[in-house]
């Protein structure tokens, strides 16, 4: 009997010890050591998403090779997600050893302010290059510019889209024109009708922390922060926005997903929604539902008082790290590709990866004027670039992600209590703001 037990334990221990071994084996294969190349024509870059960012970087490499330097080589080191890149930066910077970083890193825009605050010597700026910055969306550049010094080369365009299923709107007795520039009150009214007629939600969000409140406030031209401090609890418009969101959730206008996967895989890919509001990078997820081809249309956001609203969310930029020993090459590469030297990069990035530029010049090229079948032949790319130019610049904060988490918690608490009273909303937001202030104290 004892022998059996020992055999059992041994088997268990073996099984347990093999799992981490397998995990580490995978990790060891990732090319992390090869970040700095001796070759004077090679640059290394950390990036993620083989369907989106990587094709854009490949397009830039081909463009630079063809038009500037035939010997140039871009060593693209693929990471499994944006958080891997952000963790690599945190890790290198908190160890005080930047030698583990590649020449260039790609990460999400909201992180840069915080990274620059915490690790100011980790970055090299782009002032050496002669670049027409006015060609790019001012809102996009506001993330990567500190004290008028540009650090980031924008890759994509985070302009928010409000997409509707026109067939379902019609079933409920409305059209896309009714929705363009409507108020949120009207939106709720339509949403109730759509849910009643079709059983689909007109909006969805990720309950664990979503940028919906941020985008809705940006469409009003305001920010959750004033001079670096959170001021959203006393912002009347923000109180109204949160009350509207809670109403939408309780009235089945808005589907509240538990997490990101619930939001994308269940709500959007699971065909539960008649409307999507997010950065335009959400489009590839919508397109996964092939049977809805030709049923979607894109327009601007509703606003509290009516009128078209514009917002942006997400997107990423390329930054040159302190570890880059060839800054001239890196700056020249970015200046001749993403920073507007050539439209070839952006044309190929759009074709191969669906990456939309925020450069007005690149957005004027022929490729951008083509209609997209999924959206009833609408030339959505040109439309998005045009909308991007209207996005108001609002104050950004180092604490964007913490803020959205605390606000997400406040929304969930309000929904659980079924409370949309002005006092209740203000109290919940004051609580969230208090938590955030507490965290920001240092």
């Amino acid at each position: 009997m004892k022998r059996k037990l020992i055999a059992l334990l041994t088997a268990g221990v073996l099984a347990v010890s093999m799992i981490p071994a397998a995990v580490y084996a995978d990790e060891a294969e990732a090319p992390t050591a090869d970040v700095a190349s001796e070759d004077e024509n090679t640059l290394s870059v950390y990036a993620w998403d083989a369907n989106f960012n990587i094709p854009a970087l490949e397009a830039a490499e081909a463009d630079y090779q063809k038009n500037v330097n035939p010997d140039f080589k871009l060593n693209i080191i693929t990471q499994s997600g944006s958080s891997d890149v952000e963790n690599a930066v945190t890790l290198a910077a908190s160890a005080g050893d930047y030698s583990t970083l590649p020449d260039i890193v790609l990460f999400q825009d909201h992180y840069f302010q915080q990274f620059h605050l915490n690790y100011p010597d980790a970055w090299q700026d782009l002032s050496a290059a002669d670049i027409d910055w006015s060609d790019f969306g001012a809102e996009k550049l506001s993330y990567s510019t500190i004290d008028d010094v540009h650090y980031g080369a924008p890759v994509d365009n985070g302009t928010a889209i409000m997409a509707y299923r026109t067939d379902l709107l019609e079933e409920a007795g409305y059209s896309i024109d009714d929705m363009t520039g409507c108020t949120w009150d009207k939106f709720i009214e339509v949403g109730k009708a759509v849910y009643e007629k079709t059983g689909k939600y007109l909006l969805c969000m990720d309950g664990s922390g979503n940028d919906l409140p941020y985008m809705m406030l940006q469409a009003e031209g305001e920010s959750q922060f004033t001079d670096g401090a959170p001021t959203f609890a006393s912002n009347e418009k923000y109180n109204q926005i949160i009350a509207d969101i809670v109403t939408m959730i309780t009235e089945n206008v808005l589907y509240l997903g538990n997490d990101w996967s619930d939001y994308v895989d269940q709500a959007i890919v699971g065909d539960m929604v008649a409307g999507v509001l997010n950065g335009n990078w959400i489009i590839p997820s919508m397109e996964l539902v092939e049977e809805n081809t030709g049923k979607w249309a894109i327009t601007s956001l509703p606003t509290l008082e009516g009128g078209e609203g514009y917002a942006a969310n997400g997107g990423s930029s390329l930054y040159i790290t302190a570890n880059c020993t060839k800054p001239e090459l890196a700056v020249d590469f970015l200046a001749n590709t993403f920073l507007g030297g050539s439209t070839e990069t952006y044309d190929a990035a759009l074709k191969n990866g669906g990456v939309i530029t925020c450069s007005a010049k690149a957005g004027a090229s022929d490729v951008y004027q083509e209609g997209v079948d999924f959206f009833e032949g609408q030339a959505i790319y040109a439309d998005i670039v045009k909308m991007g130019a209207n996005v108001p610049v609002v104050e950004q904060s180092d604490y964007h992600y913490q803020c959205r988490q605390y606000v997400g918690t406040a929304i969930q608490n309000l929904v659980a209590a079924g409370d949309t009273s002005p006092e209740g909303v203000t109290a919940a937001l004051e609580d969230a703001q208090g938590q955030l202030e507490f965290e920001m104290e240092g």
Binding site: L8, L9, Q114, Q266, Q402, F438
Partner: protein
């Protein structure tokens, strides 16, 4: 004669120390040094590269008491502890008793089945539970086809049910692990003791409480300490199953410490270290109480 034996002893002792040195140095460098550094960090604040002393020096510790999320996390962790550990250990002991029965057939098979959950990785089992209890998941479709519920239950999106899922998952994952210790303990109890009890006319209930439990006491104390320790450091389930949600209803202390240090790019290592030491003290106190209660030297 005497001196030569002493010198042999001394020589052996020297070699003994020499063999101990590598492990000692490793433990000091890899464990004790970081612990001391963490203690120093816990009195500091600011960005990681140029941290300065907090003012007053105990500021990080004072903040913990006012931090609503840490208090929520602490309540959650103790709820898991109070509900999950007793259920798990009682179940483990029952299973060990049943599987220790000499007349039971296919004992090896049953033992393997109960132990098998422990061979799964923490992350993968948490993810599997997450998909099982998803709104469109297996549990909901089974309950619906049995007509026990009419609408899908949002297990992980409701505070109460999310806590239940975590406790359920913990019990599934760890019961077998503890059972193995009890089983090993039970096999060390001489069967003659039970035969003697039977001859004396003791009931099964009495035998269990008067013979099994006292003789298993060291094992029980050990499993208690390990379970308390493990629950206070609970991390994987909170991160992977619910991500602490909804609205921090399932977040654990370790998860919050992680969020404050590595999560979301916050980098509040001073405050996170202070919270770690609070958890460390809690583990210490609970383990000390446990040892005192389970002290066999009467």
């Amino acid at each position: 004669m005497k001196t030569s034996r002493n010198s042999v002893n001394a020589k052996q002792r020297r070699w003994g120390w020499a063999f101990l040195i590598p492990a000692t140095v490793m433990i000091i460098v890899m464990s004790f040094y970081p612990m001391v550094q963490a203690l120093i960090t816990s009195f500091k604040k600011g960005p990681i590269l140029n941290m300065e002393m907090a003012d007053p020096w105990y500021n990080n510790y004072a903040r913990i008491l006012q931090d609503k999320i840490f208090i929520t996390a602490m309540k959650n962790t103790f709820l898991y502890l109070i509900i999950q550990v007793p259920i798990m250990l009682v179940l483990a002991m029952l299973l060990a008793q049943i599987l220790n029965n000499k007349d039971l057939r296919f004992k090896g098979l049953f033992r393997t089945m109960v132990f098998l959950p422990c061979a799964t990785s923490l992350v993968s089992y948490a993810l599997i539970f997450k998909s099982l209890f998803a709104t469109q998941g297996l549990i909901n479709s089974v309950l619906r086809s049995l007509h026990l519920i009419s609408d899908n239950i949002n297990w992980l999106g409701t505070a109460g049910t999310a806590k239940f899922v975590i406790i359920f998952a913990l019990i599934w994952r760890w019961t077998g692990y503890n059972m193995v210790f009890y089983l090993a303990g039970l096999q060390n109890i001489d069967y003659q003791v039970y035969e003697a009890a039977k001859i004396d006319g003791a009931s099964a209930w009495k035998t269990f409480w008067r013979i099994t439990v006292p003789l298993l006491k060291p094992v029980i104390v050990m499993t208690f300490i390990m379970s308390i320790n493990g629950t206070l450091q609970l991390f994987d389930e909170s991160v992977n199953l619910t991500n602490g949600g909804p609205a921090n209803a399932t977040i654990t202390m370790s998860h919050y410490i992680y969020n404050m240090s590595f999560g979301q790019g916050v980098g509040k290592f001073g405050y996170a270290s202070a919270m770690s030491f609070v958890v460390f003290i809690m583990v210490g106190i609970l383990a000390a109480i446990n040892l005192k209660v389970g002290d066999t030297r009467d």
